[in-house]
């Protein structure tokens, strides 16, 4: 029997397709989280009232930050879970190499981030519609132009991708060595929590340097660089990984 030549891109495409078809639990959990997020968002974030003579002003704030936060959490957990042995062994039951699997997983988590961005945006609009129907008082929304809306979504998407890439990298390290991975995560959390608030520390500087930039293009460029770095680490860590030991 003659051997079949296969192209890497073709295999990666098939793997991504397979993941979309078989990882149904991931999508179900997104649905549940978004509904929960919507429900919590309708309670409002805060209120302010100003009593006066013959008139009073009361302001109720609503925002979709809980929705976005929940989506981010969902992405973080699922990106990390993708590195676990159950998913890994499934991949190798079909056609896969370590390299094609990494490419497929990164493509898949980028598509998850895209899905998260779009659904959060849509849910936010559901929230708006709900509030419009429920309240007959004056409603002010921050009205963005089309370009502003798009660019804010692009930025959100890039942040979410960064979260995914970070979670996947941490997951990959944990898969190789539990204690190193665990220690590293704890160190990052503790150091991060301490130094985010203190200017002048390296982590604080790094976070501000990568995450905040007034130029959209420059911001995207920095985020892509950070993602590329995380991708490289994941590759270094998982290149030698055995399956079904």
């Amino acid at each position: 029997m003659s051997l079949n030549e296969v192209s890497l891109i073709d295999v990666v495409r098939k793997q991504v397709h397979f993941k979309w078809k078989s990882y149904t639990g991931i999508f179900q959990s997104l649905l549940i989280l978004q509904i929960l997020g919507l429900f919590i968002s309708t309670l409002g974030e805060g209120s302010m009232s100003e009593p006066g003579y013959g008139r009073s002003i009361s302001v109720q704030y609503y925002s979709s930050s809980i929705l976005v936060g929940m989506t981010a959490m969902w992405l973080f957990i699922n990106s990390m879970l993708l590195t676990t042995s159950a998913y890994r062994e499934d991949d190798f039951t079909f056609v896969s190499t370590r390299w094609s699997r990494l490419l497929a997983n990164f493509t898949f988590i980028i598509s998850l981030a895209l899905l998260g961005t779009v659904t959060s945006f849509l849910s936010m609009n559901v929230l708006k519609v709900y509030l419009f129907i429920k309240n007959d008082e004056l409603i002010l929304t921050n009205s963005l132009t089309f370009f502003e809306t798009i660019s804010s979504l692009v930025v959100l998407l890039s942040y979410l991708i960064l979260i995914c890439a970070a979670a996947y990298t941490i997951g990959s390290i944990i898969q190789r060595n539990k204690w190193v991975g665990f220690g590293l995560s704890m160190l990052l959390i503790v150091l991060g929590a301490i130094s985010v608030d203190y200017e002048g520390t390296p982590i604080n500087f790094l976070i501000y340097f990568i995450m905040f930039d007034s130029s959209l293009m420059l911001l995207l460029f920095k985020l892509s660089l950070a993602n590329g770095f995380l991708f490289f680490i994941s590759w270094m860590v998982s290149d030698n990984q055995e399956v079904r030991v």
């Binding site: 029997m1 003659s2 079949n4 397979f18 990882y23 190798f92 039951t93 056609v95 190499t97 399956v243």
Partner: protein, 298 residues
């Protein structure tokens, strides 16, 4: 198809294969036989690219299987612990395999599913052990991979299904010749199927020969104790015991043809491939009986 030179594999705590040498030709059915823990599964997982070799050389389709996409696309590894997503039903699983394997034979898969009465809408986790093995065997047939590896494929199957499986394997092999590696504890069941046997013993390729050569390499002799002893001392003695006073039976490994008429006092009998294998790989003098004899002495 497969070439190993001084192939070794060490796990963290112990070594599983050491200095294994063998060459497996294209389009042959080879039985990989060995006692429990001999290293069969490790050997097969190395070939499938699941595990990374510790040292030595391993070429499958002239490539290193651990990193080769070509090997992955042209080989399939079937065993009872095959990992499949629980979210897909059998039909959807077959469709997934069909997308990945270009030679996929869909009519055959469907026919076999019907024949073995596997419901298309069922999920893997709800099947019995034997049905799961049957389903995995069907995947192996339908994928038509140039290199198909079955590790203990008949686990849990009942006798009738096992028989069907072997027959299907042979028919499918004749229709689409390919390289098949098959490991099983039941050598007597598969010996008619195999062309070659690769015996892995003590982490090495102990013997690699055809089934008939394996049968001929071991012979049992019966007769008077003195004559049997004399005969056994001329050959590689594998086992000897007294059946009743004065008479003995020995199993010996022979390297060349024996003229039986030269030993008129001895009765020769041939062994099955399975018996030959057991005698060849039995390193413990006296067998299990010895253990009980010793413990009774205490």
């Amino acid at each position: 198809m497969i070439e190993c030179k001084k192939l070794s594999k060490k796990y963290r705590s112990h070594s599983a294969l050491s200095n294994l040498n063998c060459t497996i030709q294209e389009n042959t059915i080879t039985g990989v036989i060995g006692r429990n823990g001999a290293g069969k599964t490790t050997f097969m997982k190395l070939i499938a690219g699941y595990l990374k070799k510790t040292s030595g050389e391993l070429h499958v389709m002239e490539e290193n299987p651990f990193t080769s996409l070509k090997v992955s696309a042209n080989s399939i590894f079937i065993d009872d612990q095959m990992s499949l997503p629980t979210s897909l039903n059998l039909k959807e699983l077959l469709n997934s395999f069909a997308r990945f394997y270009p030679n996929w034979n869909e009519p055959l898969a469907n026919e076999l599913m019907t024949y073995f009465q596997l419901p298309q809408k069922a999920y893997m986790q709800n099947l019995s052990k034997g049905m799961r093995s049957t389903f995995q065997a069907i995947i192996g047939f339908a994928a038509r991979c140039p290199l198909t590896i079955y590790d203990e494929p008949t686990t849990g199957m009942d006798a009738a299904v096992r028989k069907d499986f072997y027959r299907a394997l042979l028919k499918d092999y004749l229709a689409f010749p390919r390289t098949i590696l098959l490991s099983s504890h039941h050598l007597e069941e598969i010996e008619n199927l195999l062309e070659n046997v690769l015996i892995i013993h003590d982490q090495k390729a102990f013997m690699h020969l055809s089934v008939s050569e394996l049968k001929e390499s071991v012979v049992a002799v019966k007769g008077e104790k003195a004559a049997v002893n004399e005969f056994a001392s001329m050959h590689n003695k594998l086992s000897i015991n007294e059946s009743f006073p004065g008479m003995a039976m020995a199993v010996v490994q022979v390297n060349n043809y024996i003229r039986r008429e030269n030993f008129p006092h001895l009765t020769f009998s041939n062994l099955t491939a399975n018996e030959a294998f057991i005698y060849l790989t039995d390193s413990r003098e006296g067998g299990i009986d010895r253990v009980f004899e010793r413990s009774e002495l205490d």
